[in-house]
Amino acid sequence: MAERCAVIGVGQTKYDATRYDVSMPGLLREAAIRALEDAELTWNDIDAIVIGKAPDMFEGMMYPENYLSDALGATGKPLLRVHTAGSVGGSTANVAFSLISSGIHDRVLTIAWEKQSESNAMWALTLSPPFSVAVVAGAGGFFAPLVRTYMRRSGAPEDTGILVALKDRKNALKNPYAHLQMPNVTYEEIRDSFMLWDPIRYLESCPSSDGACAMIVAKEDLAGKTPRKPAWVLGSSMRSEPVQFAKRDAVNPMAGRQAAKDLYQQAGIDDPRKQIDCIECYVPFSWFEPMWMETMGFADEGEGWKLTHDGTTALDGARPVNMSGGVLSSNAIGASGMCRYAEAVNQVRGEAGEHQVDGAKISLGHAYGGGSQYFSMALFGADKP
C-alpha cells in the first residue's frame, strides 16, 4: 500500500518577459522560498529536491543541477533533475510524488523553471543538421498542421480558437502572477491579430516568459500539520510515444488517452465529466483546449469544441478550464507543466484567489511536451482519499 501524498505548499514567481534582476538560481529561489513560506517550513524540513527545466538548448544551460544546491538548500541532500521536454513541469512533480508515495522521503521540494529571455526557443527548435532542410518553424510550425487536422475532423466553428484565447486572457486578469495582462482584450482584437502559423494567430499563442514554480510535497502524517489545507494527490500518471509512426494519431495521441485512463483508474474516477470539478491543462495554442478535452474524456471525439462554445469551460461554467489564464498567458516552458499542477492544487485548497472555482473538490493538472509525445497528469482532492 503506497503512502498517501499531499501538496502542502505552492510558490510561484511573477511570470514576465524578462527577469534581468535575478540570476537563474535567484529566480528558482524566489519560487522555492514562497513555497516554504506557504507551508511555514524552512530548508531544514526538506529531505530531497526534484527539479525540471525545458530542453537544454532552450536556454543553453547544461547541468543546472550542478550549481543549484546552495540556492535550493540541497547541500547534503538528494537533488535530481527530470527531462521530458515541455511536459517536464508535470513529470517533475510526478517524480516528487513518487518519492513520497514510495516511502523514500517525508517532504520533497519540487521546482520547475525557464528563463526564456536568455535564449530563443524558435532557434533551439530549428537547428538544422547536415543533409536536411529546416521547414518546420518552431513549436507553432509543428502544431499548426495538427490544429488544421482537428478543425477538419471535428468541423468545429472557425472561431473556437478565438473564444478559448479570449476566455484565458480574461482569466489571466484575475491572476496576479500571469505574464500577459490584457484588460481591454476583445474578440475582434484576437480575430484580427496576425496569422503566425496559419491557422494559428498571434493572440491564440503563448508568450515567452521567465519564471519558476515550486511545490512542497509531504507524506500523510506531515500533511496534517500544515497551516493551510493540503491538496491530496489522488493519482498521477505519465505516458510517452514516438514523435512519428505510421498511422499515428498526433491530434488525439494514444499516450494522452492512456495517461488519462490510468489516472482515473488510480483515483477511482468512473465518470470524469461528473466527478472532476475543474481542469488546468497545457494549452500553448488555443485550439489545444478542445483537443485535450477529447483526449482526457471530457467530450466525445470531435465534440471538444462544444464545451468552449456552450460555456462549460468558462471560469463560471460547469467545468472550468485554465482558470489561471493558462499557458496562453504565461509560458516559462520548463515551469508550465508545474504551473498547471499548482493551479489545480490551489483550487482544491481554496487558495486560488480571484480565480477560485467555488467548491472545487477534485481538480486535474495536465502537461504535454515534445511533438505531443509526453503526457503528465495528476488529480488533486480537497478530501483525504
Binding site: 527577469r19 540570476s23 538560481p25 524558435m122 532557434w123 547536415p130 521547414v135 487536422t149 477538419r152 509512426f245
Partner: protein, 328 residues
C-alpha cells in the same frame, strides 16, 4: 543513377560538420553583479560566509545553510597558486595560444581558489604551488572574467589601468556565447535515403511483415522496435494530408515568407513527410491536394533533402479526406 541495391550495398554512413552556435546572455542578479562590476573597475570582490569564509567569486547563497549572502569584501588582487594544470598544447578556442597553466588562485583575503589562467611565458618550470601571482588586466574592461587576461608572477604585474569612462550602471548581464562543433553522422538508413535523393529517388523501408512503409527509413519500426531491413522506392508524388502557412521568421529557415509547410503522404508510403509547397496560390492550398517533388537540376543534385527543391501541385483530382484521415 544508382539502383536501390547499389545504395544499400554502400555501408559507410554520410558525415558532415554540424555547428550549433548562440550568443546566450545571462542575467547576474545582485551578487554576481557586484563581482562583474568590480572586474570592470579593476577590483576583485568576494563575499563573506559564516560557514565557509570569504568566497570568490561571491556565492549568492551560503553553501551550507542556504542563507542569502551580502557581506561583500574586496580581495587580492594578488594571491597564491594552490593548484594548477599545465596546458602544453592550447586548443584553437583557448584564450592563450602559447602554453599556460589553468590554476586555482587563492586571492589575499579569500578562502577559496578562483579558477583562471597563469601566463609564465610558456615556461612550465616557472610554475609552482604556492607561487605568488597577480592579475594582468585588460585596459578596456567590460565586466567579464576576461577583463583579467591572465594571472602572472606578482613581480611582473602592473596595477589595473584606470577606467576609461565610468559607466553609471552596474553590470547586469554577461555574454556567454556557446559554440558546439559536431561531426554529424547520418547513420546507415538515413545515408541510403540521402544517397538515393542524389539519384532522384525517394527510398523508404518496409516494416516487418510488410504492411507499412516508412519514409525516411529509420532502421526500426517505431511501433515495435523491430528492424526494417527491406528498402523500397516510393513515388515522388503524394497527397497533402495537412499543412500550415508560415508567416513568422525562424533561424535556419531560408524560405521566403509566407511559405506553405506541408505534411505530404507520398504514394506507396505510410507516414507523412515535411516539406514546402510552391507554385500554388495560398488560397488554393487544401487537404487532399495532389503534389509532386520538384527536383534540383541534375548538376545540383546532392546527397541531401535539398535535392527536392519543393513540392508543387499536379493536375490530378483531390483525394477524399476519408482515404487519408488515418495519416494526418
Amino acid at each position: 543513377m544508382a539502383t536501390i541495391e547499389e545504395l544499400v550495398a554502400r555501408a559507410e554512413p554520410l558525415k558532415g560538420p554540424h555547428v550549433i552556435e548562440y550568443p546566450f546572455r545571462r542575467s547576474c542578479g545582485p551578487v554576481l553583479s557586484k563581482f562583474f562590476t568590480g572586474l570592470r573597475e579593476g577590483k576583485l570582490i568576494g563575499v563573506r560566509s559564516e560557514t565557509a569564509g570569504v568566497l570568490v567569486p561571491p556565492a549568492e547563497y551560503d553553501p551550507q545553510t542556504a542563507e542569502g549572502l551580502t557581506d561583500f569584501v574586496e580581495v587580492g588582487p594578488a594571491g597564491k597558486v594552490v593548484s594548477y594544470a599545465w596546458v602544453s598544447r592550447p586548443r584553437p578556442m583557448q584564450l592563450l595560444q602559447h602554453p599556460f597553466a589553468y590554476a586555482l588562485v587563492e586571492l589575499d583575503g579569500a578562502d577559496t581558489g578562483l579558477l583562471h589562467m597563469v601566463d609564465v611565458g610558456g615556461d612550465e618550470s616557472k610554475m609552482s604551488v604556492g607561487m605568488r601571482v597577480a592579475p594582468r588586466w585588460k585596459a578596456e574592461r567590460e565586466g567579464s572574467v576576461r577583463d583579467i587576461e591572465a594571472f602572472v608572477p606578482e613581480a611582473e604585474a602592473r596595477p589595473a589601468p584606470p577606467v576609461i569612462a565610468e559607466p553609471d550602471e552596474p553590470v547586469k548581464s554577461v555574454a556567454t556565447p556557446l559554440r558546439l562543433e559536431y561531426d554529424f553522422t547520418a547513420g546507415r538508413e538515413q545515408s541510403i535515403f540521402l544517397r538515393a535523393l542524389a539519384s532522384k529517388k525517394i527510398v523508404g523501408a518496409r516494416s516487418p511483415g510488410g504492411d507499412l512503409v516508412y519514409v525516411p527509413p529509420r532502421g526500426t519500426d517505431p511501433r515495435t522496435a523491430e528492424p526494417t531491413p527491406d528498402f523500397v522506392e516510393v513515388s515522388d508524388k503524394g497527397t497533402v494530408v495537412t499543412y500550415s502557412i508560415v508567416r513568422v521568421p525562424s533561424e535556419n529557415i531560408h524560405f521566403e515568407l509566407p511559405y506553405v509547410c506541408i505534411n505530404v503522404l507520398l504514394d506507396g508510403s505510410d507516414i507523412p513527410f515535411f516539406h514546402v509547397l510552391q507554385n500554388c496560390e495560398l488560397t488554393d492550398v487544401r487537404l487532399g491536394m495532389r503534389v509532386q517533388a520538384s527536383w534540383a537540376a541534375d548538376e545540383d543534385l546532392t546527397e541531401s533533402v535539398e535535392s527536392i527543391r519543393y513540392f508543387e501541385p499536379i493536375d490530378e483530382p483531390d483525394v477524399p479526406f476519408e482515404q487519408f484521415k488515418e495519416y494526418c
